[in-house]
Amino acid sequence: MANRLRSATTVGVLLVSVLALTLLFGNTGERIALQMCVNVAAVVALAVYCGNTGNVSFGHGAFMTIGAYLSGILTMPTALQGSALPQLPKFLAGHELTVLVALPFVATAGLGVAILTGFAIARLKEASAAIATLGLLIIVHSIAVSAREITRGSQTFYGVPRITDTLFVLSAAVIFILIARAYRESRWGFFARAVRDDEDAATALGIVPFRARFIAWCLSGAMATVAGALQGHVLGAFSPASFYLSLVFAQIVMMIVGGMSSVGGAVVGVIAVTMLQNSVRNLEGGFSVAGFVLPEVFGLTTVALGLAILLIIWLRPQGIVGMFELGPEADSGVLRKFSRRSEPASNSAPVGDEQLVVSGLSKSFAGVTAVNDISLSVPTGQITGLIGPNGAGKSTLINLMTRQYNADAGRTHMGMADFTHLPRHAVIRRGVARSFQNLRLFHGLTAFENVLVAAFATGHTRRTAEAIALRELTAFDLADIAGMQAEKLPYGARKRLEITRALAQDPTMLLLDEPAAGMNPAETEDLASRLDAVGRNRNIGILLIDHDLRFVNRLADRIVVMNRGHKIAEGTPKEVRTNAHVIEAYIGWGRTAQTAISKPITV
């Protein structure tokens, strides 16, 4: 419901500004509105990739080039085509389609190119992705300039049927907004945004970053191709330069100024920048202010765009709209509303008895042996503690077990399943979930969405996924703040949220890397009783790493102690407490240490 309202708000903003332009400025206004709607389509298409994956693309100019020329050729009157493009290959010539009929072909062609290029580009992120997309732009541009038989080279390509109907382009822009909104709130949109915020955490949930980015790229590319076709029909005559760096720059400015992480941001950005461009363009030919005559300045609009983007990045890096969509704000009481209308998910059935077995795992980094021949087993229904001083190799061990690193030697097994050649994202499918030493939440998503993504990644339908998220958040006392952005939650809540997210995947094993680090005693105590309950009710096996000895001692049925990569002791908390090696490694020699460790622990 709230999501529909958000889409409606964005569409509404566009409709109002188009209406205002046409009513206030007559013909000029209508011309501006027409171009503005095309820009909305193009920038929304661009933001489908950029906003959801967090990468910037320069390559969308390439899709627009393809769309403009292909649609131009398919719709061009046959007679005109004979004189303008005498050497056009046969299969492209003489179709004379209407624009509406040509668009599906254009979209398909764009999708094809996106799939082809996506295999390379979806592997990359951030700066590498930006430059690879720039490469795509250069490739397509240079082909458009060289393929004279098809494009007339760098000369003007003319004879393209013109679109002058604002309503047609406006409808296209609205459809684009709705598609982009639907994708953003879909399972694949969430996956892409999870990967954007934290690739390692997303992979541990079973999301394949390449696939998530690939789908965003393909959808975005196909949409941009259609937007390019529209742009071509609005212009009527164009050349490859019409879709090159300056257009790409202008569209990126629009996207960033509005805020690239939301669809509403893209639309607001286009509207704001269109206003700016048109006001400045009037000044470009020289003007006089209070008697001073300023000379003609070539490229004043470019300077204005440049300054606009610099100001936005300095003052408000998330853009005018910010991280969140236009429309109703995320509501902190979102779950209460949910619970009123949906059936809560049944408690997850206790998992069957299994064992996660580590045998002889070793790993060295540049000559330093971080983990040396470690064997241990984590049974379900128990909490196994893993303690050791800093640098003992505990986190490295978890990273080896979950395939974050490749082990130099040794294996991890779960029942019959051997993890040795398992890709990282498949570990969760064997029932092993984990948390991270440094919090790794999806900071751009709400608490609810963080858990929802995890349930989606397990393969649940939206209904079930929402119900599971509700169940887990309630169990960890996060329901009241579920609508808040994860980044803004208090520290203790964020720590709990990470565990909640892992539990939403109904794991058999849960590997917790310092879940109580940085918590105050009350929070630690609270976490201890919750973990205890989870272990008992759901029969989950927990491997618990922590520095807080009391915490581990209280919870663990068995404790494994590591020091300098070796396992130095294993046993019940009591056995471990009195083990001489442990005392030496963990606390060091001395009377105080002796008394500290042998004193009975009371909590």
Binding site: R123, A130, I131, V140, G299, T302, L305, I313, Q437
Partner: protein
């Protein structure tokens, strides 16, 4: 044999220019996490420096110094005016900032200097050639290879054997750690920009000597290739950038020399497609940078 050597020299000369530009980009990226889209304008500004001092009839050595100095000054100014305020911003914000700086500078060049190419005439000696046995070899490519190799060699020496150079290499691997050790961030970043300006200035000298003119877009196209080279080499890896530059240059010259006439216009498209295929095989680049992140 003859044609192969000729092409080899051309490839080294072009690859050297790309390598210097790519290395400049990589130094700044590895330290400031900035993909500097305005790097081309640094090179262009160097070109205008040469143009200005030629117009003033300065001796050739002074002219070259002015050109290189102009590029260094431009790089330092950019860092001070636009990028220092952005320290710690996301990679994407930095990238967009540099894009805006680049667009604004281009408009300034067009309005305050000239939208059209301005001529530069190097002494005729540069355009000459000499003979080794049967072969005719151009002076300009030879000089450019010698200059490139000395510049790269000098920089390697600087990075390996001076205190500043070593702290820069350390900064490239873990900047936060270096700051904790008390190395001044501003200084390291300024030096990295100065070095990238120096390399761009040298590239500008070689480039203008071969083309004979400067225009507002002069730096844009070679720098686009240099971007591709940095990604091909492995973003953030200094050795990778140099290797990537040479690979892109060599591919380009080979394509130029051996493509069928009908395919010749598609040279850039073919070269870049090969680079993308190489990236499919090695997504982290040919010589990936070290990554020190922990879970």
């Amino acid at each position: 044999m003859d044609i192969w050597l000729q092409q080899f020299i051309n490839a080294l000369s072009l690859g050297g220019i790309y390598a210097m530009l790519a290395l400049g980009l990589a130094i700044v990226f590895s330290i400031a996490r900035l993909i500097n889209f305005a790097h081309g304008e640094i090179m262009t500004f160097g070109g205008y420096g040469i143009f200005l001092s030629m117009a003033l009839d300065f001796p050739i050595l002074v002219t070259l110094t002015v050109g290189i100095a102009a590029a260094v000054v431009m790089a330092l100014m950019m860092e001070r005016v636009a990028f220092r305020a952005m320290r710690g911003a996301s990679i994407i914000s930095l990238l967009i900032t540099s894009l805006a700086v680049s667009e604004i500078l281009k408009v300034l060049f067009q309005n305050f200097i000239s939208p059209r190419p301005v001529p530069i005439s190097f002494p005729s000696l540069w355009s000459g050639s000499y003979q080794i046995g049967e072969m005719t070899i151009g002076v300009a490519p030879t000089v450019s290879i010698i200059v490139t190799i000395s510049a790269l060699g000098g920089l390697t020496f600087f990075l390996r054997h001076t205190a500043t150079g070593m702290s820069m290499r350390a900064a490239a691997e873990d900047f936060e750690m270096l700051r904790l050790l008390g190395v001044r961030a501003n200084r390291i970043i300024a030096v990295s920009f100065a070095l990238s300006g120096l390399l761009a200035g040298i590239a500008a000298v070689i480039w203008t000597a071969q083309r004979g003119s400067v225009d507002p877009m002069m730096g844009t196209f070679p720098v686009l290739k240099a971007f591709i080279a940095t990604v091909l080499g492995g973003l953030g890896s200094l050795n990778g950038a140099v290797l990537g530059g040479f690979v892109v240059g060599i591919l380009e010259v080979l394509a130029q020399a051996f493509l069928l006439d009908s395919l010749a216009p598609y040279r850039d498209a073919i070269v870049l497609s090969i680079v993308i295929i190489l990236l499919l095989i090695r997504p982290d680049g040919l010589l990936p940078a070290r990554d020190g992140t922990r879970s």
